[in-house]
Symmetry: C2
Subunit: 320 residues, 2 copies
Amino acid sequence: MKKTARAHTNIALIKYWGKKNAELRLPLMSSLSMTLDAFYSETSLETGQQNEFYLNNQKQSDQSAQRVFQYLHKLQDSFGLPYDALKVSSINHVPTAAGLASSSSAFAALAASFCAYYDLDVDRKMLSRLARIGSGSASRSIYGGFAIWQKGHDDKSSYAYPLDEKPAMDLHLLAVELDQKPKKLSSTKGMQAAQNSPFFQPWLARNDAELNDMIAAIKNNDFTKLGSLAELNANEMHAINLTAQPEFTYFEPNTIKAIKLVEELRQQGIECYYTIDAGPNVKILTPLKNIKEIKKLFLSEFSNVKIINASFGPGVSILD
Amino acid sequence: MKKTARAHTNIALIKYWGKKNAELRLPLMSSLSMTLDAFYSETSLETGQQNEFYLNNQKQSDQSAQRVFQYLHKLQDSFGLPYDALKVSSINHVPTAAGLASSSSAFAALAASFCAYYDLDVDRKMLSRLARIGSGSASRSIYGGFAIWQKGHDDKSSYAYPLDEKPAMDLHLLAVELDQKPKKLSSTKGMQAAQNSPFFQPWLARNDAELNDMIAAIKNNDFTKLGSLAELNANEMHAINLTAQPEFTYFEPNTIKAIKLVEELRQQGIECYYTIDAGPNVKILTPLKNIKEIKKLFLSEFSNVKIINASFGPGVSILD
């Protein structure tokens, strides 16, 4: 018995940055994302002699293996299944160079392969809830195009749903890797530390309005609105971190340089916007026609930069 | 007839970053500052054949001269004085290397020399109001030690007063010049642009509490509290800028590097805090004993850095 699922990573345009319940990964805010074609995880589940986790063909015996099996035990528990020994093999097609977290695609693929392996009758809403328990952002990777993770108030009501799985918008994302060093502060710790910023509550209070504005931008196929809202929302998240007590920042010197290059491009009439997650790298939102100019500038300004181009990716799928 | 006044620059620990009335320079928030011994302006007023402004012995005929005489005409108007021709000579002992604005000391010295020249009977509260009309932060440079500029609600009620002119606190400021380029966005334009940040109103709402906390830290001689409050307040100002629409930042890559060095020093038990104004340079607050270690690290990490050490300076004085 072996089942394989593929799920794509997503990038949040309205960020998830705060947990209401760490165990269930219930968020303090709703978020909205774009699923990306260029980056995905393929995960197989098969009957094993013992629990084994292979990542990119390397057997893992560290925290990541522990996290995978703790997660699978939770799923087994919730369906009244025994703790069968399982061999999990995952290939992450998310190059380090992307500067993107692979946990969204990894846990979405793992949840889907689990359901396929046990032949469970779950709809995508349920699958999103199961993925969420593994990694919050994974709840959104169930769907292609644009997805919304509604915060909900408990395990049952906190899941993602598709907003537009085949968007018409001319929207590309350039994943710009400025820095390959692993981040010093994990997302989990960062979002915990951020909550004592004096701007955290004001930000939360804006969540509904920001989400609605973003939905309207998508429905109106308005790239300018989408880009500027995404940039503002990302800056809000980083403003929260900078004003936490004690303050912290995921920005590195090159992050500031990249931000100023995006501003410069806009001043030149080359429309693009940045979004930044829990790390120093920037992702640039742009229509197709500007990709060449943007790449040219970044390649000339940074000696070691890697840039990967992505657009809309599909939702989760079962491969065999 | 010639009168000369000296005034020292000040650094805001609770920032002034928003005008309610641009003409009268009425602020949206109260601010609190430390007057610095290392940096000052000396300004002479004497009877002239025509209006002339000399800055550091160079005759000025640009905007700065215009600003000086527009200001002096306002003062002449308010005292019912004729527009006498005046020769203004100012020496700024504020090296570019300090990364500090000289307008606080310049307009405090100019206001004081004006009152001395006309032998006007003004108290320091009135002098602070007059200085404010030239440059908001100048209102605080009338006093030594710690001063508070209460925002007030009109020309009469918006002035600074001394909080503690001879502070006992072991407090030094290292002015760290990372970048000598003139800032691209003036303070006046920056504070205008900042006001549409979604966090601007929440920040304003905190002004009284932040001011009171800072006053308590000073009264309790609590450097840790003073430093962390000053750092938070500065970060709030820069968080406001980052979340303005459109966003902007005074940070340069080296600003982020400097911030992380301060964090690193603290982790090593070398207590110090940063504050940052409308430019890329950082100012580090520290007790005397840590100056050597801080300087050593910054000099080793930056190739072109200049560091000037300051502590409490006196209020405005008439020299002849």
